[in-house]
Each structure stands twice: as structure tokens, then as C-alpha cells.
Amino acid sequence: MNAIFYKEWIKTRGYLLLAFVTTLGFAGYAMLRLNRVVGLKGAEHLWEVMLARDTVFVEMLEYIPLLAGVLLALVQFVPEMHRKCLKLTLHLPYPQLRMVNLMLCFGLLSLLLCFVANYILMFSYLQAVLATELYARVLLTALPWYLAGFAAYLLISWVCIEPTWKWRVLNLLISVLLLRIFFLSPAPEAYNAFLPWLALYTLLTASLSWLSIARFKAGIQD
């Protein structure tokens, strides 16, 4: 397992560092903008606007985790598909599905680390200026966006591993539609009740990669 993570780490370390810094940068910038509002108009203004209108002030972060997930999947699986390197990976004396699962697991864990860092950053600033109800609203509203990051990672991985272009396009179409579900409503906290189910579904999408692996092993080609 360490060796598998070692390979994934070599592949993705550059990107992960970049993703970590960039997502933190965006989250930090969002907090900085909030801080400017507080500085210019007072914290009251922030509270009043949040109470009166459907806004959480961090809307700029909406597609950042999605992008981080998509890119991680590409960085991790495009080299595997380059000249069918995946054959080497699957030839290793290790159960093949478990191998793929561990590779996905590595990606999910690194995204989790990155996103948790984002949340810690946002939480530590927001809890100082906003009441529990308000910062909970901000963080809950951002949660489906971050979940979309995980979903995007798993779905795009599936698209990458798929051996034929015809299916790759179909899978991409399905992925885009599935990812749309995460961005259906701009209303704050609209996903609260749906979120646990969406998270479960997201985790299950990891199983789609098994299908592509099976197709890869059967040698299906364009």
C-alpha cells in the first residue's frame, strides 16, 4: 500500500502542492474580501446582508474544488493511460481492483486534506466575526461545492481509465450531467437534507472505475 501511495505521490506531488496553495489562496482571498467589508462597513453590514439576502459572500469559491478534482484526476490517470502504462500497474502482484481502489483512495485523501485545510481557514476567520448560525450557513452552503470536487475527481478518473474514446465521451457526458446536480440552486443551504445522500452516491461513483478497468482488461479498443 505504501508503494502504491508512493507512486501516486510522485505523479501528483507537484500538482497537489499547487492545488493546496491555490485553493487555500482562493479561500484566503474570499476571507480577505470579507475582512475588507468588515473594515469598511462594519460587521453589522455583513450580518444584515446575510440575513436579508440569499448570499454567503464566498460564491467565488463555487467551482474551485470542482476544478481541483478534475485536474487531480487528469494528473493522476493520464500518465497511467499514456501508452497503456496501466498494464504495468495491473500486472503487479497485487489484487487489481484493490489497486485501483487504493489509487482512488489516495486521490480522495489528498483532496480531503486540501479541502479540510480550506475549511479550517474559513472557519477560523468566520467564527471570529459571525454568529454560529451565520458561519454555519456559509460553510454548509459551500459543502456541496467541495463534495462536487470529490465527485469530479472520481468521475473524471472513470472517464480517463475508460479504454475507448466512444465510451469516454459517453462517460464524460454522464459525468457532466451528474456534476450539474451539485450546482442546481444558488440558494444557501439548499442541499442540507440531500447532502448525505449525495455524499453516499459520490462515494459509490468510485465503482464506475471498476467497469472501465474490466473493459481495459478485456482489451476493448476503438
Binding site: A187, T205, L211
Partner: protein
């Protein structure tokens, strides 16, 4: 494992088709709603509908099909078209035997609108309580907001994000003195400075008793409102119309619609047959003589004409809503602001 992922893949395809096919159909075949804008005319004793008629453009007509011109409509709905009538110098001195002035009409006119999606949304349970009697003409937003916990009311200063213990205790004591049971079941207010005056909040306590809370000269004003026997209130709305006649609207668990009068705190059942805030939308255009209430459900729009003095039913009619969406999987709905799967 592979079998599971095949199954999961098929399930995903089915869900996507169930979701996207009706969406595509709705996108390409959707027709605008045909429910016309309708008001009750006390003068003709009938509803006048104004809307686009296919091939004929904008048409105004009553329920028996008689078509009116714009000018005729202005005269039949003098309260609604008051500004037009004044500008045409056609505004009468009396309407239906009541002496009126444009100013008086404008002051007593009101409109009220609530959609189901306003009710079914995640809200922040923090409420600004304004000073109702500041001595100033303009209202100003307070520097704190309150929340109602299981044990009391808590004021949080926005600037420092800290609880104002003294004020919290003062207001909690005032509520407890009036036999208020924490926490609150529902709460209705209108927290904006852009209104004529402030009536604070209507609060339903944990036992279903109704209270009126406002801040008067920095002190709590709490009034326990006596409710008719066996009235189980469900939803509350504060009105704050400029004529100050009403304090709020209420619905009960049977979806009956009540008016809460100002000053007397009288609760009066209206002639509206049924209004469920969770599923229906309501619009009210009120004037000195009568109110036109429209309750829109998924199936129909029902118009009620109510007398402005006792809210009794004068007239009503109903229009069937054509179902334009086909069955399938939807994630959003016009009835709420949530995303969740619904079949």
C-alpha cells in the same frame, strides 16, 4: 464487485434519463402560464381578468365574458388605478358611497405576497429587533440580533459577535412573565428599515400560544394574544401595512386563513377556504372596501373577494392550472429552495 458497478451504472443511466428527458420536454414544449391577473371590482360586483388572449393581445373582461376597454377598467377598479384616474382627472369623490380622496386610497391600499418557496427555505434563525418608538421618522437597523434558544431570548451584538447578557435577561424575563414557553415554534417579522413603522415580531411559543414582541424605548413590549378556542396556529405573517389596521395574518393547522387586527388583537377567520403556506402561493390586493385574495396551488388559482371590514367572503372563482410538467425525476421545485430528488 463488477456486477455491483454494472448495476450502479445502469441505475445512474436510468436516473439521468428520468431527470433529463422530462427536463428537455419542458424546455422545448413549456408554455407560459395562462392564469390572468385578476382583481375584484366592488363597483361591478365581479372579477375582472386582465391577460394575453391568443390572437387578440391584452384583453380585460369579467367572468361572464364581457370585454372592457382600459378606460372602463380604470373606472371599475378605481382603487387600483387611482394614479391613472387622478392624472385623467376622473377620480371620483365617493366610491360605493364612501367618501374618498386619492391620498386616503393610497394609504389604505396594500399588497401582500408570499410564495411557498419563501416558506420552504433554510433561514438563519437570527432576527434584528428594531426600536419601534424611537421618536425619529425613519427606522434604523439595530446593532444587535436575537436568537431564541431553549431557555430564553439572546441578543448578540453584531460588531463584537458577543452576547448582550443584560438585554438578553431583560427580554427573557419579560417573556417569561407573560407565560412564554421557550423555545419558539415560529416567528414572523419584517426586519427591514424600509417600512413606515415597526411592529416587531409575532412569536408562537412551544405550547402554541401567540405573542407579540417589540422593543419600545429600549424596553421589551410583550403581549400575550388571546386566541379563539381550539385554534392551532401554524404560520404567522406580520403585515405592517400603512393603514395600521391589521397586525398580521395567521393560518392554522387546517389551512384556514385568519386576520389579526392591530390594537384590539382580535383574530378573525376570513372567507378564504384554504391556504397552505407550505404548498400554495398567496397574493392579496387590498383597499378600503374589499380585498382580492388569490391562492395558487399546483392545480388551480382560486380568487376570493373579501369585505375589508369583516373579511367575509363576497365572491370567488377558480381557474384550473394546466399541468405543464411531465412526471419524472426533479431536483428543484418552484415550491421551495431546496435541492433534493423528487419523483
Amino acid at each position: 464487485m463488477i456486477r455491483f458497478s454494472k448495476l450502479f451504472f445502469c441505475l445512474t443511466i436510468v436516473l439521468i434519463l428520468l431527470w433529463q428527458l422530462p427536463w428537455c420536454y419542458a424546455f422545448f414544449a413549456a408554455k407560459p402560464s395562462k392564469i390572468p391577473f385578476t382583481l375584484y371590482s366592488g363597483i361591478s360586483g365581479d372579477f375582472i381578468s386582465m391577460g394575453q388572449v391568443e390572437g387578440k393581445g391584452m384583453q380585460r373582461r369579467n367572468q361572464s365574458g364581457q370585454v372592457y376597454t382600459q378606460e372602463q377598467t380604470d373606472s371599475l377598479l378605481p382603487f387600483f388605478y387611482v394614479r391613472q384616474l387622478v392624472s385623467d382627472e376622473r377620480f371620483p369623490d365617493t366610491i360605493m358611497g364612501v367618501a374618498v380622496t386619492p391620498r386616503k386610497v393610497q394609504q389604505t391600499n396594500f399588497s401582500f405576497r408570499v410564495n411557498a418557496s419563501d416558506i420552504n427555505a433554510a433561514k438563519v434563525p437570527l432576527y434584528p429587533l428594531m426600536e419601534s418608538l424611537s421618536g425619529r421618522v425613519d427606522l434604523i437597523m439595530p446593532e444587535d440580533v436575537f436568537r431564541i434558544t431553549a431557555n430564553g431570548i439572546e441578543f448578540v451584538r453584531m460588531k463584537s459577535n458577543s452576547v448582550d447578557e443584560g438585554k438578553s435577561r431583560q427580554f427573557t424575563d419579560a417573556l417569561i412573565k407573560k407565560d412564554f414557553r421557550f423555545p419558539a415554534r415560529r416567528l414572523a417579522g419584517n426586519p427591514t428599515a424600509r417600512k413606515d413603522y415597526d411592529e416587531g415580531y409575532l412569536i408562537l411559543d412551544d405550547e402554541g400560544k401567540l405573542f407579540h414582541l417589540k422593543q419600545v424605548k429600549s424596553r421589551p413590549y410583550v403581549r400575550a394574544i388571546a386566541l379563539p378556542e381550539r385554534l392551532n396556529i401554524n404560520y404567522l405573517f406580520i403585515t405592517e401595512f400603512s393603514d395600521r389596521k391589521t397586525l398580521g395574518f395567521l393560518t392554522d393547522t387546517q389551512n384556514c386563513f385568519y386576520v389579526l387586527n392591530n390594537k384590539s388583537y382580535e383574530v378573525i377567520k376570513t372567507g378564504v377556504a384554504s391556504y397552505n403556506p407550505e404548498t400554495d402561493g398567496i397574493t392579496i390586493f387590498g383597499n378600503l372596501i374589499d380585498w382580492t385574495v388569490c391562492v395558487r396551488t399546483d392545480e388551480a388559482a382560486t380568487y376570493y373577494a373579501l369585505a375589508a371590514n369583516d373579511y367575509s367572503l363576497i365572491n370567488s372563482f377558480s381557474l384550473k392550472e394546466e399541468a405543464s410538467t411531465i412526471r419524472g425525476l426533479h431536483f428543484t421545485s418552484s415550491d421551495d429552495k431546496f435541492v433534493k430528488p423528487r419523483f
